[in-house]
């Protein structure tokens, strides 16, 4: 007897579609909803993983709109450290849908808020993109002037865009309790001071994210009618969760919500496409193959595999930068061997990874010291543990100060 399942292709069955297929060989995996022309102006934004998407689109001949840049003769690393050349504008990572909506609203109205200036060691930072000035600015007024200038550029950029590629990263965020302003980092991590009376933790649910994305889409379409959207979900797990859940549970919650919203939006709107990068990296047949040893950072091989799937539907232009555009020979890895390296040249800039420093401190030193003292009924931390704790504090501070982006891609 014939059923709707009788004539389905192999891709529709788990065994033939996934279990018996190598992670790099997923076939017929993504079908574009609309084409992207090489002269379409593309704006990219989102969590750290979005940087990989932006880099690869650029290298493969797509027209990435650049609203804020530095002269080409300046060293690329210097530009990157200052938030240039990462996305279309210098907004840094946009981890949550609410943060995106907030940027759109602010850019539309030119709104800058003095309370969004954070201080550290006499230098001043834009709390809404704290990593773009590594040593901060000279005064709070200068930060506000910079933000105003940035918002003008963002507004001009969105008036000109044809395709908006956005990677949803997190549902967890920190907000200012009185205004509801959402920040990309917890106060105190890069700058500012954490005050529980001023700032609070928020974990958006599926309705929040959906409503924010719908509102963001509406605003963008008002600015640029005919705009098309490509959504992705970052496959990078949370560095840390501020919720009561285990970080794995929190990650699953977060990613499930983001993935659900993408499905809802792609189902509802013809101008919204979903590109399944999340699925490629996290697929069970990959057996975490695309993650680095920390099981968070996506390897360059993983990124290339993702982008290959993207370019199978949106073909790459003839490129000159072969090192960047050529995907490695694919196929099952024989005999094990080392994992492919994490993206190096295209290291991403990621504030969330800074939480790792606190994690190292907490898990290795302080907590072990506390546990040790509890275990032995001690009320003080043993000298040896105190020494370890001090070293870890130093390491944590170093990590924050230098902001090494090589830690990982996040969210």
């Amino acid at each position: 007897m014939s059923t709707p399942y009788s004539s389905l292709p192999p891709r529709n069955y788990w065994r033939s579609g996934v279990a018996e297929v190598h992670a790099t060989q997923l076939a017929d995996f993504y079908k574009k909803k609309f084409p992207i022309a090489f002269d379409d102006k593309i704006v990219t934004a989102g969590s750290c993983f979005a940087q990989h998407v932006a880099n690869n689109l650029k290298k493969n001949g797509y027209n990435i709109l650049v609203a804020e840049n530095l002269p080409q003769w300046l060293d690329e690393d210097v530009a990157k450290q200052h938030g240039y050349g990462i996305y279309s504008a210098r907004y840094g990572n946009i981890y949550t849908a609410r943060q995106l909506l907030q940027l759109l609203r602010d850019s539309r109205t030119g709104t800058v808020r003095p309370e969004d200036v954070w201080e550290k060691n006499g230098r001043f930072y834009d709390a809404l993109r704290p990593s773009v000035e590594p040593i901060g600015l000279e005064s709070a007024d200068e930060v506000l002037a910079h933000r105003k200038n940035h918002l003008e550029k963002v507004a001009q950029m969105f008036a000109d865009v044809d395709v908006f590629v956005f990677t949803l990263g997190l549902t967890e965020a920190w907000q200012r309790l009185d205004s509801g302003t959402i920040y990309p980092t917890c106060p105190g991590v890069i700058a500012g001071r954490f005050d529980p009376d001023v700032f609070g933790f928020v974990n958006f649910n599926v309705f929040d994210v959906y409503n924010d994305m719908v509102e963001a889409r509406k605003l963008l379409l008002e600015i640029k009618p005919g705009l098309r959207f490509i959504l992705t979900v970052s496959p990078v797990p949370l560095t840390a969760t501020a919720s009561d859940d285990h970080v794995l549970v929190a990650t699953t919650r977060s990613k499930s919500i983001l993935r659900s919203v993408c499905a809802m939006l792609a189902d509802e709107f013809d101008d919204v496409d979903y590109f399944p990068s999340y699925e490629i990296i996290t697929a069970p047949n990959a057996r975490s193959f695309f993650y680095d040893t920390n099981l968070r950072s996506v390897t360059s091989f993983g990124v290339e595999t993702v982008m290959r799937a993207f370019f199978s539907e949106h073909p790459a232009k003839a490129v000159t930068d072969t090192s960047a555009a050529t995907a490695p020979a694919l196929g099952p890895r024989r005999g094990g061997g080392r994992r492919p390296p994490v993206a190096s040249k295209d290291d991403v800039v990621c504030e969330e990874a800074l939480l790792e420093a606190f994690g190292q401190l907490a898990s290795v030193s302080v907590l072990s010291a506390i546990r040790t003292s509890r275990q032995f009924g001690l009320r003080w931390i043993p000298k040896s543990s105190r020494a370890t704790a001090r070293i870890s504090v130093f390491l944590a501070r170093s990590a924050i100060f230098f902001r090494q982006p090589s830690f990982a891609t996040d969210g």
Binding site: L70, P71, W73, H82, E138, E142, H146, H150, K153
Partner: protein, 207 residues
């Protein structure tokens, strides 16, 4: 040491007598150039501004980035490259005599708009200092940067106009620069710089 650029080789022959620089033949190397004002602030200010500069339009960048841009610009000039090569090849003292700040005559040019804005900005008070500081950073450990004598500078931004009157080009043929030329300086400026240079080389090099 020589250049792979025919024009530069020709220029070396003209200025040094040979198409190459003999590292053994000299005790001190003096590099003149770096196009201080042409390539630096003005070029940067066409697209970028800082809060202190307060120029309309363009992207606002931090003072730190303005410094980085200027330092990088200096390093990438021909003079910068030459200093790098010399520093790699010899331990003998190297001096940089930077090109002069533009003359106030620049106001007769379209580019005068930007320089005028710089002159009116809060940055003006230490503009010449800023240029000098960035030159020093660009060549720290490689060359001693000569500072443009204070008495040749007007309003901390320009070279006094008297030093750009009747300037001549000392190429193969001596050519009089146009009256509106704001980049080249005259013999009086050259004499003043030489005086300063010899006063400096008499002192121990402070790298």
């Amino acid at each position: 040491m020589t250049s792979d650029e025919p024009k530069t080789r020709k220029s070396l022959r003209f200025t040094g007598g040979t198409p190459f620089i003999s590292l053994d033949a000299y005790d001190v190397f003096c590099v003149v150039g770096c196009r201080t004002s042409v390539n630096a602030a003005n070029l940067i200010a066409q697209d970028y501004s800082s809060v202190r500069l307060g120029l309309p339009g363009g992207q606002l960048v931090s003072q730190e980035l303005m410094d980085i841009l200027l330092i990088d610009r200096f390093r990438k000039t021909i003079a910068g490259t030459l200093i790098d090569l010399l520093a790699q090849s010899t331990d003998k003292p190297i001096y940089l005599i930077p090109d002069p700040l533009w003359s106030t005559k620049v106001f007769e040019e379209p580019r005068g708009v930007i320089m005028g804005a710089i002159a009116k900005s809060t940055h003006a008070a230490d503009y010449a200092d800023w240029v000098y500081r960035c030159l020093q950073s660009a060549f720290a450990g490689k060359a001693t940067v000569m500072r443009q004598p204070a008495d040749t500078i007007e309003n901390n931004v320009f070279t006094a106009q008297t030093y750009s009157q009747n300037s001549i080009g000392l190429g193969r043929r001596v050519v009089e620069h146009p009256e509106t030329d704001f980049v080249h300086m005259n013999g009086a400026y050259g004499a003043r710089i030489l005086e300063e240079f010899f006063a400096t080389v008499d002192k121990p090099a402070a790298l």
